[in-house]
Symmetry: C2
Subunit: 357 residues, 2 copies
C-alpha cells in the first residue's frame, strides 16, 4: 500500500528536527487557487472535462523534477480510511476527500508541497512548513507556480487576475494561513478579543481543520480573507504583522498568568499530564486539549525541550484515521481505548513535571 | 483548645478499625427529638428558659457514667471555624451551629453519641456507628433515652407520643438514617429511579450533610420520613428492608457495569486516581467525587483493602474546616491549594492501580 510508506516517513524523528524553532507558530501554509482556461470549473465540468483536467495536470506535474518522486493518489482509489489520514496530515481538504472521478492529489516526496486536482478549483497548490517564514515560502511557491503556468494555460484576466470557482479566491488566488498554539490567550479569556481584532483587520480565525472546525488543542489557523486588490507581498506582510502582534499577546498572557496564578497553571498542566498518563478511554478532542497544556509546559520549561517532538508527533498520531492505521475502521469506543493506550505508553517515557524551574 | 484533642482522636488508625465491615453502608445514625415539659420549645423560649433547659440537661447528662469523660461545648464559646469542624464530623447540625445562647452539644468520649441542646428541640440525641446494625444501635439509644427520661420529664402525651417543635418529628421523635455510598447507581444512571422508589416507600434521600445538601462523593443519606403511627421497631425494620434492597441494586449495577464497560470504569477510576495524585488546586466537592471512585476501586479489588481507612479518613480531612485546622479561616483558593497538597502527599503512598484483578 503506497499510502503506508508515505505516512511512515513522518516519524517522530523528522517531526523533531522540523519542530525545533516552532513554539507558538506551529506551521505556515500558502495555497494558490488556479484553473485551466480550457475547461469549466470542477463543479460544473462534465466527467470528461474533469478527466482532461486531471491528465493535463498530471502531465505537467510529472515533468517537474521536484515532483519526480512524489506520491499521486486519485480519490477513487482511496478508501475512506486512507482519505481520513490524508486530511489529518493536511495534505488534502475534507472537500477533496468527498470528490470522486477526476479528483486527485500530488504530494511531493519532501511532503512540503501538495497539489489537489479538481477540488473546488482545477488546481489547489499548497506549501506547508513548520515555521514562520511566509516570504521564503512564497518565493518557493511562486517559482513552482510560474513553472507550472508555462505548461498549463491558467484562466486569467488583466482586470480580475486569476479566475476562481468561488469569488472569495479571485485575484491572487492566495490563501496564506498560519497555525498558532494559543493556550495563554485561551486560559486568560483573551482569545475572543484577539479573534475579533483579527477579523476587523481582514483576517479569518479558524480551528485546526479550517472552516467550521473547532480550535481543539488551542490551535488556531489565522489567514487572509481578501485575495483581490492587494499584491501577494502586501497580503503576506499584513498577515505577518498581525501574527507578530498575536505572538506578543500570547507570550504576555502566559507570563502574566504564570506570575499571578502559578497554582492554577500548575494544576491545569499537572492534571493534563496525569490524565494523558492514566486514561483508559479518551476522545481526540479531549486528548488534543490536554496535549496543548503539555506543549505549553515545554514552552515554560516544566518539561524538557527534548520531548517537544514526541508531543507534536502525538498531536497527529491520536487523530482518528491515524489511530485506525494500519488496520481498519474502528468503532469510536475502540478508537478511544486504543488512543488512551498509545498515550499511556508514550507518557510513561516522560519525566515528572518540574514546576520549580 | 479542647476541640483540638477531640479532633485528633479520630486518627486514620481509628477510622481504619471502624471501617472494616463497611463498604456500601458507611454509617448508621439514630436520632431522637425530645423536649422538656417545663419549658417552651427553643424557637419560642425566652433566654432564661433556654438557659434553664441547658442547665437541666447538663446536670442530667453529667450524672451519666457514659458521659463522664465526654466533651461539652456551648455554641457561644466556639469560633465559626470550630463549629464548621463539628458539622463536618456530623456531631452537630448546621442549624445548631447558627444558634447562640443556651445552645450546646455533648459528645461522648467514644464519639458515638452526641446530644444537641436547644437546637430545634430541647434535646436531639444521636448515636452514629460505622456499620449497618440499626437494631443494636436502637437498643443502646433506647436505654440511654430511658435513663435520661428518669431525670428529665419529657413532653409526652399518650395520644401523640413525644411532642416536638416541628410536627414532622411528632410521635417517636425518631429519625433513622443510613449513609450509603452508591457510585454504581450513579454511573449507570439508576440513582434517580432508586430515589423515586424510596420516596414512595416513605423514605427521604438526601446528600451528605442532610436536607438540601448535594450527594458529593456519591454518598446518600436515606432516612424515614414518618415518626407517627408506627413503633420504633416498625420504622427500623421498614428502613432496613429498603436499604438491603438498595445494597443489592448497587452491587448489581457495579457488576453489570464492570462486565459491560470495563474500559470506561477503569477510565473513571484511573482518572480519579491520577487527578488526586497530581492536582494543585481542588475543591472539596470535586475531591469527594474522585475519592468516591477510589473507594469503589477498593471495593472492586483494584486497590488493596488496606488503604480503605486512608481513603475514608481523607473524606473527612478534605472538608473545608478540617483543611483550615489548626490554623484559621483561609481563602477558598488557599484552601483548595492546601487540599490538593494533602491529597498529593497521601496518594503518593498508594500503589499503582491493578485492573487485572
Amino acid at each position: 500500500m503506497k499510502i503506508e510508506s508515505l505516512i511512515k516517513k513522518v516519524s517522530a524523528k523528522s517531526a523533531r528536527s522540523k519542530a525545533k524553532n516552532s513554539s507558538i507558530v506551529i506551521s505556515s501554509r500558502l495555497r494558490l487557487a488556479r484553473n485551466l482556461n480550457k475547461y469549466s470549473f470542477p463543479n460544473c465540468a462534465s466527467d470528461s472535462q474533469r478527466s482532461n483536467v486531471l491528465s493535463d495536470v498530471e502531465e505537467a506535474l510529472s515533468a517537474l523534477p521536484y515532483m519526480k518522486n512524489g506520491n499521486f493518489f486519485t480519490m477513487d482509489s482511496l478508501s475512506d480510511f486512507e482519505k481520513k489520514i490524508l486530511v489529518e496530515r493536511h495534505w488534502i481538504s475534507k472537500e477533496l476527500a468527498e470528490q470522486k472521478n477526476g479528483s486527485a492529489v500530488y504530494i511531493s516526496s519532501d511532503q512540503i508541497c501538495s497539489v489537489m486536482i479538481n477540488e473546488e478549483d482545477h488546481l489547489r497548490i499548497q506549501f506547508i512548513k513548520n515555521n514562520f517564514n511566509l516570504n521564503s515560502l512564497w518565493k518557493t511557491l511562486s517559482k513552482f507556480d510560474d513553472v507550472l503556468e508555462a505548461s498549463l494555460p491558467y484562466a486569467f484576466t488583466k482586470e480580475l487576475g486569476y479566475l476562481t470557482s468561488c469569488p472569495s479566491n479571485l485575484g491572487t488566488g492566495l490563501r496564506a494561513s498560519v497555525m498558532m498554539h494559543l493556550p495563554g490567550l485561551l486560559i486568560t479569556g483573551n482569545i475572543k478579543k484577539i479573534i475579533r481584532a483579527s477579523n476587523q483587520l481582514g483576517l479569518a480565525v479558524r480551528g485546526l481543520f479550517g472552516e467550521g472546525s473547532d480550535a481543539y488543542g488551542h490551535i488556531y489557523q489565522i489567514s487572509n480573507q481578501q485575495t483581490l486588490g492587494e499584491s501577494e507581498e502586501e497580503i503576506l506582510n499584513r498577515l505577518a504583522a498581525v501574527l507578530k502582534n498575536i505572538v506578543e499577546h500570547e507570550l504576555n498572557a502566559r507570563s502574566k498568568y504564570l506570575e499571578n496564578n502559578k497554582a492554577k497553571l500548575s494544576d491545569l498542566i499537572a492534571r493534563a499530564h496525569a490524565i494523558l498518563s492514566s486514561a483508559h478511554v479518551i476522545s481526540s478532542d479531549e486528548a488534543m486539549n490536554y496535549l496543548s497544556y503539555i506543549r505549553l509546559a515545554i514552552d515554560l520549561g516544566f518539561i524538557s525541550e527534548e520531548f517537544r517532538s514526541l508531543i507534536d508527533f502525538l498531536f497527529i498520531q491520536i487523530q482518528p484515521g491515524h489511530i485506525e492505521f494500519p488496520n481498519a475502521i474502528l468503532s469510536i469506543e475502540s478508537r478511544d481505548i486504543k488512543r488512551a493506550e498509545i498515550l499511556r505508553n508514550n507518557f510513561s517515557k516522560l519525566p515528572p513535571l518540574n514546576f520549580d524551574k
